[in-house]
């Protein structure tokens, strides 16, 4: 019943390769830290020029490695500094000097499980 070593190694490689093929099939994009609630709300109308941003996620996020950017009505993109994570899963920031028009707040968060999620919050300033 004893077999040649080479043949057995080949079989092991075959098993590993089969797993590899199965695992390297395309998988759905990330959706880990879900944006549960946001201020301003999606497609909401708010008063300027100062707007407080509060983003509530379904999981703990790393504020030091998360990014907020604001796309203004002229198409310019500016970085928004995150003030911190007052409670787990909550990110806060302040936007200043916003004129009338449509804005898009883009967010990229790093969840504490190492997963990166992106999304956007479009809103209008009246």
């Amino acid at each position: 019943m004893r077999r040649d070593t080479w043949i057995d190694i080949r079989r092991f490689v075959a098993v590993v390769a089969a797993c590899g093929i199965a695992l390297f099939a395309p998988v759905m994009a990330f959706a880990h830290a879900v944006l549960v609630e946001s201020r301003p709300g999606v497609n909401s109308i708010v008063s300027g020029p100062e707007v407080v941003v509060v983003l509530k996620y379904s999981s703990r996020v790393d504020p030091r490695h998360s990014t907020l950017t604001l796309l203004d009505p002229d198409g310019k993109v500016q970085k928004v500094s995150i003030e911190g994570e007052p409670t787990p899963g909550l990110l806060s920031a302040k936007l200043a000097g916003l004129g009338k028009g449509a804005y898009v707040l883009r967010w990229q968060v790093l969840a504490m499980d190492g997963h990166i999620t992106r999304g956007k919050v479009p809103f209008q300033v009246k």
């Binding site: 070593t5 590993v16 959706a31 379904s58």
Partner: protein, 535 residues
């Protein structure tokens, strides 16, 4: 570059899957060596192989962890002004670096072959497990973080003891010096696997309680649907494992033929086992069902409206009525933040027509394969020919915005991930049809050629389990997943039953398996015939 960034997002999930598989193989190897091979006084050859297997799994884990680190780092930097130095301060970088160090340490221990080194592999394996679990869903939970981390660790351990150790048993059975040694190994493995399966299931139920929350979460969220798929595969493994359990009990009476049978069934079990790991990798890409808002969940009414049986659509809308395609670059760029592909009713009718014709072809193939089992119907064994037509159909109609029906050039359109998936699928089908036809006709007698069909079914099912459904809203993607997941599960069942039919010695089980896979094909056809995108 846009294409690359878009796909790094996918790549990081795939690499997570690879690390899970190699982690299971590494920990499973350590468990097999410590709790099965050594206590069962296995021959030097078996012990030697176990160590070699652990080393290979360690190297695989190191490679996949390094790739995962680089991909996650690139993804993080691509959407921000963070540098690689910043990436090095993240929690995932720390955890993955520790996992790499522990995997290297296990590799060294497996190479040393001393008693102390073998014992040292156990704590090193546990540290590796801790590093891995610290990048699981549990680590980021706001509530019940500690308890969920313990459950996740138990789930990983159970997987390693049962699924990860299985390839080691399979290869050991081919290397043993006698039937007695084989019996000792299988008995000890069976005990460990039973404990592993119970641990895996108990921890899994606990995690489902917290991550899914309600019974309806099992069919109204993507996480729940994938979890149901995982449970189906788990039950299939339990059924095969139960069969093996009884075989092991009978080994003393009729060892030689039963040992061959045992190895063949274990092969199918390994295939399903690693598909379970793949499904787990897909689950890590999903937000837990409990986090999904009510607006993004399906309702029973929506499921009924979409799923209830209706007459298939056998006439297609004209290609000129379809929504005009945007530029390729624009489409991929937009999908970086919100992956949306706009489609109207005509586009959906077009897609339904495609699915229904594909369903008809698969149903005919399944019925012909079933008929071909009767001596008077031998002509029906050329059923794979129908699949060649299916490949041409996919190539022409799956992506009408590209050549030959649309304006986008053929080669350039490979940049779109969806198009790439469809064309790869069409190529797989052509390869399969050619091989299986030659096999059925008796022109190709090589053993490996007969395995192309089950291999294609397994790979196709794996792809379908992880297929990205780009839809305008989450519910559409969910409904598509709801109809695709049963097809994937039937594909896996077909792959395993065909494999068993080919590999098992002539027996009742082999005959039943021979009727099983054509039935699965026919069922896949019927599901496709009822696929709908219009309410």
């Amino acid at each position: 570059m846009i294409w690359l960034l878009r796909d790094i997002d996918l790549l990081t999930v795939l690499l997570r899957g690879a690390t899970l598989a190699f982690e299971a193989l590494l920990l499973g190897g350590v468990a097999y060596l410590s709790a099965v091979a050594r206590p069962a006084r296995a021959s030097a050859a078996v012990e030697d192989f176990s160590r070699r297997g652990i080393r290979m799994a360690s190297l695989g884990l190191v490679a996949s962890e390094v790739a995962a680190l680089l991909a996650s780092g690139a993804l993080l930097m691509s959407g921000s002004d963070l540098t690689f130095k910043d990436v090095m301060t993240t929690s995932f970088f720390r955890a993955d670096s520790f996992a790499i160090l522990f995997a290297i340490a296990v590799w060294i221990c497996a190479r040393l072959r001393t008693n102390k080194a073998t014992v040292a592999m156990l704590p090193l394996g546990l540290l590796l497990l801790a590093a891995s679990v610290s990048t699981s869903h549990a680590a980021a939970r706001i509530d019940h973080r500690f308890f969920l981390t313990i459950l996740t660790a138990a789930h990983h351990l159970g997987t390693a003891a049962w699924i990860g150790a299985m390839p080691y048993l399979w290869i050991s059975l081919g290397r043993v010096e006698g039937v007695d040694e084989a019996r000792r190994l299988t008995e000890r493995y069976s005990q460990m696997a039973l404990l592993g399966a119970v641990t895996l299931a108990s921890a899994g139920i606990g995690m489902a309680w917290f991550y899914v929350g309600t019974w309806s979460g099992l069919y109204t969220t993507a996480y729940g649907i994938m979890l149901v798929a995982k449970v189906f595969l788990f039950l299939a493994m339990i059924a095969l494992g139960a069969g093996n359990w009884f075989l092991v009990r009978r080994l003393a009476n009729n060892p030689e033929p039963l040992l061959v049978r045992l190895r063949r069934v274990v092969e199918a079990e390994i295939c399903i086992g690693f598909l379970v790991v793949l499904t787990a990798a897909s689950l890590t890409a999903q937000a837990p069902g409990v986090d999904v808002t009510a607006q993004e969940r399906l309702t029973s009414r929506e499921i009924y409206v979409r799923m209830h049986p209706e007459r298939p659509r056998m006439s297609s809308p004209p290609v000129t009525a379809l929504a005009p395609p945007s530029s390729l670059e624009e489409a991929v760029k937009d999908s970086q933040f919100v992956p949306t592909v706009g489609s109207d009713d005509t586009d959906r009718a077009w897609s339904e027509y495609n699915h229904h014709w594909a369903g008809l072809i698969v149903l005919i193939a399944g019925l012909l394969a079933l008929l071909s089992r009767h001596r008077a119907m031998r002509w029906a064994r050329f059923w794979p020919l129908s699949f060649a037509g299916l490949a041409v159909f996919i190539l022409l109609r799956a992506d009408p915005e590209n050549w030959p029906l649309g304006p986008r050039p053929f080669w350039q359109s490979f940049a779109a991930p969806d198009v790439l998936q469809h064309r790869f699928g069409a190529l797989l089908i052509v390869v399969f049809a050619a091989f299986e036809c030659a096999v059925q006709a008796g022109k190709l007698k090589a053993r490996w050629a007969t395995y192309v069909f089950p291999a294609m079914c397994a790979v196709g099912a794996a792809m379908l389990l992880t297929h990205e459904h780009s839809a305008k809203d989450v519910k559409e993607a969910l409904l598509a997943e709801m109809s695709h997941t049963p097809i994937a599960l039937l594909g896996i069942t077909a792959a395993c039953s065909r494999w068993l039919e080919l590999r098992l010695p002539r027996s009742r089980v082999a005959t039943i398996a021979g009727y099983f896979w054509p039935l699965c094909l026919a069922l896949v056809g019927m599901i496709l015939l009822n696929y709908r995108e219009l309410a």
